[in-house]
C-alpha cells in the first residue's frame, strides 16, 4: 500500500479552491442563520400568538427534516413553482435557513435564562422592549450562548458537505471530482477529513478565546 503525495501536488489548486468556497458558503450561511435565528428568537418571545405559532412552525419543520431533502425541494422542485435559482444561492440560503432554526433555539434558551425579575424591574422603570433585549438580556446571555452557538456553527460546517450533492463547488465536491478522475480513494478522503478538521478546530479555538474575553465576573 502506497500513499501518493503527488496527487496533492496535482490537485492542490482544485482542493484549495474548494476549501475557499466552503469557507465562503459557511460564512454566509452562518451569518444568515444567526440573523434569522436571533429575529425568530425575539419574535417568539413577544406576546403575539400568531407570531409565536409561525416561529415555532419554522423551527419544527426545518429542524425536523434533513437538509438534503430541503435542498432537493428548493433546487430540483423549485422550478415547478416558479423558483429557479442557481446551486450556489440554494446552497447558501438553504444552509442558512437550516442552521437558523438551530440558532433560534440556542438564542431562545439564552433569553429565557435571564431571571424574570430583572425584566419586570426594567419594564417598571420604563425601559422599552428593545432596550430590555439589547441592554439587559443580550449582555448577560452572551457568555451562556457561545458554547452552543459554536456547536451549531460546527454542525453547519459539516452539513455544508451535503451541498456537494446539488453541485455546489465546495471542498467535498472537489474531492469527489478528484476521486472520479484519479481512482484514488484514500488520499483524497483523508485530505478532505483533515481540511474540515482544520476549519472546525480554528472555529472552536476562536470560540474559546471569545468566551475568555467576555467573562466579566
Amino acid at each position: 500500500m502506497s500513499f501518493d503525495f503527488n496527487l496533492y501536488v496535482q490537485y492542490g489548486p482544485t482542493l484549495m479552491a474548494g476549501l475557499g468556497f466552503t469557507v465562503y458558503v459557511c460564512a454566509l450561511a452562518a451569518l444568515i442563520g444567526i440573523v434569522v435565528g436571533m429575529v425568530v428568537a425575539i419574535l417568539q418571545g413577544l406576546p403575539v400568538p400568531p407570531l409565536r405559532w409561525v416561529c415555532r412552525g419554522y423551527i419544527e419543520v426545518i429542524r425536523g427534516t434533513p437538509i438534503l431533502v430541503q435542498l432537493f425541494i428548493i433546487y430540483y422542485g423549485g422550478p415547478s413553482f416558479g423558483l429557479v435559482l442557481d446551486a450556489e444561492t440554494v446552497g447558501i440560503w438553504g444552509l442558512g435557513i437550516y442552521c437558523g432554526a438551530y440558532f433560534a433555539e440556542v438564542f431562545r434558551a439564552g433569553f429565557e435564562s435571564v431571571p424574570k425579575g430583572q425584566t419586570e424591574a426594567a419594564r417598571l422603570v420604563g425601559l422599552s422592549s428593545a432596550r430590555i433585549i439589547f441592554r439587559i438580556k443580550l449582555p448577560q446571555m452572551l457568555i451562556l450562548i457561545i458554547p452552543p452557538s459554536i456547536n451549531t456553527l460546527i454542525m453547519t460546517i459539516k452539513e455544508s458537505a451535503i451541498l456537494s450533492i446539488i453541485t455546489v463547488p465546495e471542498i467535498t465536491k472537489m474531492t469527489i471530482q478528484m476521486v472520479n478522475e484519479t481512482y484514488a480513494v484514500f488520499e483524497p478522503y483523508i485530505a478532505l477529513a483533515f481540511l474540515y478538521w482544520v476549519i472546525i478546530e480554528i472555529v472552536s479555538r476562536v470560540g474559546r478565546a471569545v468566551e475568555a474575553r467576555i467573562s466579566y465576573l
Binding site: E120, V125, G126, P139, L217
Partner: protein, 281 residues
Amino acid sequence: MTKTANMAATDSEAGDPLVGGDSVIRIECLHKFFGDNEVLCDINMQVKQKEVLCVIGPSGSGKSTLLRCIVFLEEYDRGRIYIEGKLLGFREAGGRLVRDSERNVSRCRRNVGMVFQQFNLWPHMTALGNVTEALVGVKRMPRAAANEIGSAVLTKVGLADKLDAYPSRLSGGQQQRVAIARALAMEPHVMLFDEPTSALDPELVGEVLQVMKQLANEGMTMVVVTHEMGFAAEVADRVIFMDFGQIVEEGTAADIFRVAQSSRLKQFLDTWRARNTNLPE
C-alpha cells in the same frame, strides 16, 4: 369568561376619576384569579398623597399580587385601578372595557416606582449603571447629567462610596438600597415596596428600613407590604390586614396594633409577637 364581559362599564364613577379626593391610587372592587383560584376578592382601597400605607398579612393572602396588580405586572380580572386618576391597563370602548396598549400602560404607571423582595438588580452593571440606565434610556438624558443624578441618589441612600461596585460585591442591604435608588432616580410620585427586607438577614434589615423611614419623612407616598411590624407601627399612617385575598381589617397604625378588632388579626399579631420576643437566654 371573557375579560370584556366581566368588565362592562356599569359602575358609578365611570366618568369622574377624581371622586374621593386626591388619591394617588384608587382601587375599586378588584378581583384577580389564577385559574379557578380567587387570589384577590373585592378589594376596595385608596392611597392618598404623602400617605404611608402598610399591608400586612400571612403568606398567600394576596399582598404581593395586589401590589403587582397596581403596577400591572399582573392583569386584574374585575374591578378598576386608577393611578393618579387614570384607569390602569384598560380603556373604555363603546361602554365596555378593553385591554389597553403596552404604551398606555407604561405611561399610566410611569410615576410609580417599585422595589422587589429579590432586588432584581442587573448584575452586569455597576450600582451607578443600574441607577442611570433608565435616565439615559427612557428620559434620554446625556450620560454626564444622568451620572450626576445617579450619584446624588446613591449618596442619599448611603452608598456614595459604592458607585462603581457590581451587585455581586454588595451586601443584601446595599443591593436593596441600590434598588431603591434606581426607583427613586425616576422621581416617582408613589413608591411600592414588596417585602423589601424579607430576603435580608436581620443585621441588614435596619439600614434599608432607615432609608424607607427617611423617604416617608420627606413626604413620599408609599405602599409597603411587609412583615416588619415595628416599622409599620412606627411609620405607617394606615395599615391594611389581608387574609385569603380579602381586606379583613384596616385602620390607623394605632388602631391595628393596639386595638385589633377581628380575631384573625389578633391571632396573626399574637403569633408575630410570640415569635419575635422569645429569644433564648
